[in-house]
Every structure is written in structure tokens, then in C-alpha cells.
Amino acid sequence: MFGFCFMLVPLYALVCKQTGINGKVFGAVAIDPNMMVDKSRTITVQFSTTLHENLLFKFKPLVKHIELHPGETKTVYFYAENNTGRNIVVQAIPSISPGEAARYLKKTQCFCFTQQKLLKGEKVDMPVVFHLDPGIHDDVHVITLNYTLFDATDFARKDVKHFTEGRIEL
């Protein structure tokens, strides 16, 4: 029973990952070298942010939305500013809407893959590199990618680094 309880979270994550439900995308994916850019279609990807529990942060995307073709790789940045008055470890949790499109939005690099450490008053731009899988349904024209920023200081990993790949200190 006890073991089963502890198995539930990884089990649940596995089911969500395999089925793409819950609007979640997990981890980095490698780019398929044979992937073709489908120029006949253009899809709008909107970015939005949420702060969990009124976390004292400034957290926003540098662009509100971009347009891209399926198969095309794009990099966008999110600006974060730590106004909490203390050093903090944060974790961004992505959510993609509509849920059916979640499994086609593929990230090759994301600040949400690891915890981020921000010193008191630190300002950074954090990158997301992603593309849309050309297999995405024809009726999807707009996708929203939202990040909720959580205070993860209580859950900080021992190996959390101050500088992560692609992050720009401002």
C-alpha cells in the first residue's frame, strides 16, 4: 500500500506522457533530421504566464505570440525578475491548450526542464526552443503555452545550478 502510494506520481506522469492528456509535455525531445517544414500552414502560438500564490516575481514572455509553420524551430524568451527579497528556487510548470495539441508541441530546450535559482533581485531572460510536429491536426490554428511559476525552494534539488544553459543574465 505504502509503495503503491509512492508509485502513483511516476505512474500518473507516465500515463499523462504516453497519452498526452492533462495538457502536459515532459522533457526534451531530439529533432528528427528528416522533419519537413510544412509551409502551407501557419499556426499561432500564444504565450502566457501565471504566478502561483502571488509569488513576488515579474514573469512574462518577451513576445505575446508568434506565428510559425509546423516543423519550423523557434526560440522565445521569458523574462523573470525576483522581487521576493530572498534567494529562491523556482519551477515553471507548462500547460498547453487545447490539450489535444499538447503532444505536438515539442521542446528541445526549456527553462522548465530544471529548477531555476534566482538570487535576490536577479533579472533573467530564459529560453524555450520548440517546434510543432508536422503531424498536428489540421483544425488547430492557435495554441496557448502557459507557464505557472512555483516557489520550489522547499523542494530544491541538490544539483540545482545557478546558471542554466541559454539563460541570459540582465
Partner: protein, 516 residues
């Protein structure tokens, strides 16, 4: 003398007799019914008029939480277990429950569990205030310290239920009188056997669920916290994987009770016995594959919404079989309308209403409108008040002459029935319309346009509450005296329990009866 009860209160503490323990369960259930009923009246009192009138919103939330928890775990479940303790050995011709000491322990955990739960009202700080479903993160990150008391109370209730269920299963498997084959078993015993398996399957899930809450609250895990890699929606999956079978645990023994009472007062055999048994089995199996209908608006994918919508609608088929069989049992029977039969007929009618609103709620697009509104409140009160509670009352009236040896006062019983049924509808029928008009559940205040219907609900609730005092009085009087009952009690009643004198001796069926 060995085998006879000890004197005074020691009899009740040390008893291993199934009749004594059945009585203890039923008395605990009645006390909790009054406690949680008073909470309901506090809720309805606050909702008599818009604005903050009697209590603070914080206390209102504590009342809704404790009312729900106590009514489910403290009233309906102990009452059903009490009926099982009294009736299962008598119905199958067993001398007692198979594990009598375990039986004593199963009961005596409960007063402590509810003492712990209710003590949160007296202790400093608020009592649990997040609704009976205690969703994370309301019950983890934002919960008051008293939540830990609730968690341990639920652990104890779970232990009690698991041991009680085990005992019932072992008794039914091993202690049936010679000649009582599976398909000769009384339908009440069948219903409880299936319910006991449901309890064994899901109470550990609930225990796991509250344990995970405890870990999240105190030991730095993050099962339900996204910041640490968990997910609050996981809580709802785990809770409702327990919760949906749980509501069938509350209603299946009620089906069994009704299936005993309607044939007795129709003076006919139960129509479609085999179908009744299999319908119960199928309802129990389906209960494990419908839990996500409680979570249609949590961002579930379309495929899951469709699957759970269809499985939920499928529950209507075996339930419909039951309702039709009850009606067919009454068809061309020689009906008389004593109090137990009146409660049983009211059960059939009003439980069916809750079935219909249940089908409405199962439809995904409609559920988006109804969810978390008073429509849901009306739906499950029709299922649990006019369903489970009515069945318990029907059972008490039906078997009370057997238990005590005296008939209850039929005239007062009829008064109790009519006041209860009419006030029950005055209380809960308007809630359907409040819900459709958009009144959310679990709010201490509401917009002006809902005032009239809320006042009707409140008046009905107070009549209902007062009517239950008649019930307490009738039961008390019947234990003290009245018209003597013979062994048969009811002309049309069939089953081994009616071959015993009323009241039955302390020990019964020490030599198993012969079943032809």
C-alpha cells in the same frame, strides 16, 4: 454464567455478540445523525436569508465539511454495518459473526474516530473547512492544523470498515446453514456481500489518499504539489477512485433492504431474484470505471470524457432492472401500507428521481452547467436521504418488532413517514431549480433572486429535523414496551429470522437450521 451478557456498561464494552454490536452500531449512527443533522440545520439557518446572518463564512465551511463527513462515515455506513451485524447471521442461520472479537474492535474504534473528528470544533483554530471531498491543495497547503485530526479519524474509520467488511465476507462464506446455496441466500445478504468486497477494494485507496495528504503536509513530499513535480489533479483521481465505489457502498445495502421489505408487504416473492443479484454485481463492477464523471471540467481529454460518460450512463441499466423488479414485485400483490412499506415505496420513487438527475449529470456538456451547483446537492441528497436514509428507516421499522419483541406505534410511525417524506421534498426539490438557475454549492451567501427558494428549503429542513424526533421517540418506546410481536411479526415476511421468537434469545442458531 458463561455465554450470557455481563452486567451494566461492561456488557457493551466487552460484548462479542452480533446482536449487541449491531445495536451499538445503530445507536452510534442515530447519535451521529442528530449531530450532523444539527449541522445541516445551522447551514440551512444561515441560508434562510442572503447576507451574513447567523454564522461566519469560515464556520459555514466547517459545517458543510463536517456535515458531509459525518453523514457519510458516521451515519449511513455504521447504520448499514449495524443492520448487517443484526441480520446477516439471523438470515443465513449462523450462530454469530465469524470473527466476534474483531467485530467488537471494528465497532469500538468508531466512537474514538468521531470523537477525534468532532473535537476539531472545540480545539483552538478552525475545524476542517474544505468540503467533505477535501480536495488538495485546500486540504494540504491551505488547510488548518486540525486537518491532521481528520486524517487520523479517517484512518480509523477505514480500519473499522475494512475489518467489518472482512468479518461479513467470512461469515457469509463459511457460516451459511446447510442447504443454503448461493442462490438461496436472502437478497439483503447478497447485497452486503458485494458491498463488503467494494469496501475491501476502496477503503485502502482512501487510506492511501489521506496518507499522501499527511506526507505533503508534514514530510516534504509533493504528491499533490506541482512545484515539487506532483499534481493536484492526482488527488481528485485517487479520491474519486475511492469516492464513486463509496457511494455505491452507501446505496447497495439499501437496495438489499428494499428488496426484502417490498416482497413482505406485497405478499409475493421478489420478482427476478437472479436478475437482482446480477444487477448488484454489475453495478459494483461498473462503479470502478466511472470515477472521472466527477472531474469532467478538470481538463480531461475528450476520449476520457466520452468513455466515462458512456460507462456512467450504463449504470442506469442494472439500476433500472432493480427499479422495474421492485415495481413488478408489487404488481398484483396484496399490498398493505405499514410504515416500512411506505418508506420502501417512497424509496423507489425518490431514488429513481435521483437516478434521473444522475443521468442528466452524466452528460458531459450538461455537466459543464450543473457541476458544483445546487443541482448536484439536490441529486445526491435525493440519493442519500430518500435513498440510503429512507432504507435504513424502513429497515428499522421492519425489524424493530423482531429485535425488541414489541411493535412500534404504527400511528406515530405513519406520522413520521409522511412528515419526513413531505419535508424531504420541500427541502431538496427546490434545490434542483436553484442549481439550474446558477446557485453554486458550498456558499454561505447568495444573490437576492435565490431567496424565495432558499427559504422554502430551510423551512422544509426544520420540519424534517423535528420529524426525526418522532422517530427517536417511536424507537425508544418500542424498546420499552407496546403490542407484543409474535415470531412471524409481518404476515408476508419470509426468511430464517422470522422463525425465531421476538425478541430472539441472546444466542441463536447454535445448531444450524435446515434449509430446504
Amino acid at each position: 454464567m458463561s455465554g450470557m451478557p455481563q452486567k451494566g456498561f461492561k456488557r457493551w464494552i466487552f460484548t462479542t455478540n452480533h446482536k449487541d454490536i449491531g445495536t451499538l452500531y445503530l445507536v452510534l449512527s442515530l447519535i451521529m445523525f442528530i449531530v450532523a443533522g444539527v449541522m445541516a440545520l445551522i447551514i440551512r439557518g444561515e441560508l434562510f436569508q442572503p447576507g451574513q446572518r447567523l454564522i461566519t463564512p469560515e464556520f459555514f465551511n466547517q459545517m458543510t465539511t463536517l456535515h458531509g463527513l459525518i453523514m457519510v462515515f458516521g451515519v449511513i455506513m455504521p447504520a448499514m454495518t449495524g443492520l448487517a451485524n443484526w441480520l446477516v447471521p439471523l438470515m443465513i442461520g449462523a450462530p454469530d459473526m465469524a470473527l466476534p472479537r474483531l467485530n467488537n474492535w471494528s465497532f469500538w474504534i468508531l466512537p474514538f474516530a468521531f470523537g477525534l473528528l468532532i473535537s476539531t470544533l472545540i480545539l483552538p483554530g478552525p475545524a476542517p473547512d474544505f468540503g467533505w471531498t477535501f480536495y488538495a491543495p485546500l486540504s494540504t497547503t491551505y488547510a488548518p492544523p486540525s486537518t491532521d485530526f481528520m486524517i487520523f479519524a479517517i484512518h480509523m474509520m477505514g480500519l473499522s470498515s475494512i475489518m467489518g467488511a472482512l468479518n461479513i465476507i467470512v461469515t457469509i462464506f463459511n457460516l451459511r446453514a446447510p442447504g443454503m446455496t448461493w442462490m438461496k441466500m436472502p437478497i439483503f445478504v447478497w447485497s452486503w456481500l458485494i458491498t463488503a468486497f467494494l469496501l475491501l477494494a476502496v477503503m485502502p485507496v482512501l487510506a492511501g489518499c489521506v496518507t499522501m495528504m499527511l506526507m505533503d503536509r508534514h514530510f516534504g513530499t509533493s504528491f499533490f504539489n506541482a512545484a515539487g513535480g506532483g499534481d493536484p489533479v492526482l488527488f481528485q483521481h485517487v479520491f474519486w477512485f475511492f469516492g464513486h465505489p463509496e457511494v455505491y457502498i452507501l446505496i447497495l445495502p439499501a437496495f438489499g433492504v428494499i428488496s426484502e421489505i417490498i416482497p413482505a408487504f406485497s405478499r409475493k416473492k421478489l420478482f427476478g431474484y437472479r436478475f437482482m443479484v446480477w444487477a448488484t454485481v454489475i453495478i459494483a463492477l461498473l462503479s470502478f470505471v466511472v470515477w472521472m464523471h466527477h472531474m469532467f471540467t478538470t481538463g480531461a481529454p475528450v476520449a476520457a470524457q466520452l468513455f466515462f460518460m458512456y460507462t456512467t450512463m450504463l449504470v442506469a441499466v442494472p439500476t433500472g432492472i432493480k427499479v422495474f423488479n421492485w415495481v413488478a414485485t408489487m404488481w398484483r400483490g396484496s399490498l398493505t401500507f405499514e410504515t416500512p412499506m411506505l418508506f420502501a415505496i417512497a424509496f423507489v420513487v425518490m431514488f429513481t428521481i435521483s437516478g434521473f438527475t444522475g443521468i442528466m449529470l452524466s452528460l458531459v456538456p450538461d455537466d459543464y452547467q450543473y457541476r458544483d451547483s445546487y443541482f448536484v446537492v439536490a441529486h445526491f441528497h435525493y440519493a442519500l436521504v430518500s435513498g440510503s436514509i429512507f432504507a435504513i428507516m424502513a429497515a428499522v421499522y421492519h425489524w424493530l418488532p423482531k429485535w425488541t419483541g414489541y411493535y412500534y406505534n404504527e400511528r406515530l410511525g405513519q406520522w413520521h413517514f409522511w412528515l419526513t417524506t413531505i419535508s424531504m421534498n420541500i427541502t431538496f426539490l427546490p434545490m434542483h431549480f436553484l442549481g439550474l438557475a446558477g446557485m453554486p454549492r458550498r456558499i454561505p451567501d447568495y444573490p437576492l433572486q435565490f431567496t424565495d427558494f432558499n427559504q422554502i428549503c430551510t423551512i422544509g429542513a426544520f420540519i424534517f429535523g423535528l420529524a426525526q424526533l418522532i422517530f427517536v421517540y417511536v424507537v425508544y418506546k418500542a424498546t420499552k414496551g407496546g403490542k407484543k410481536a409474535d415470531a412471524q411479526v409481518w404476515e408476508g415476511a419470509r426468511g430464517l429470522e422470522w422463525t425465531l421468537p421476538s425478541p430472539p434469545p441472546y444466542h441463536t442458531f447454535e445448531t444450524p437450521p435446515a434449509v430446504d
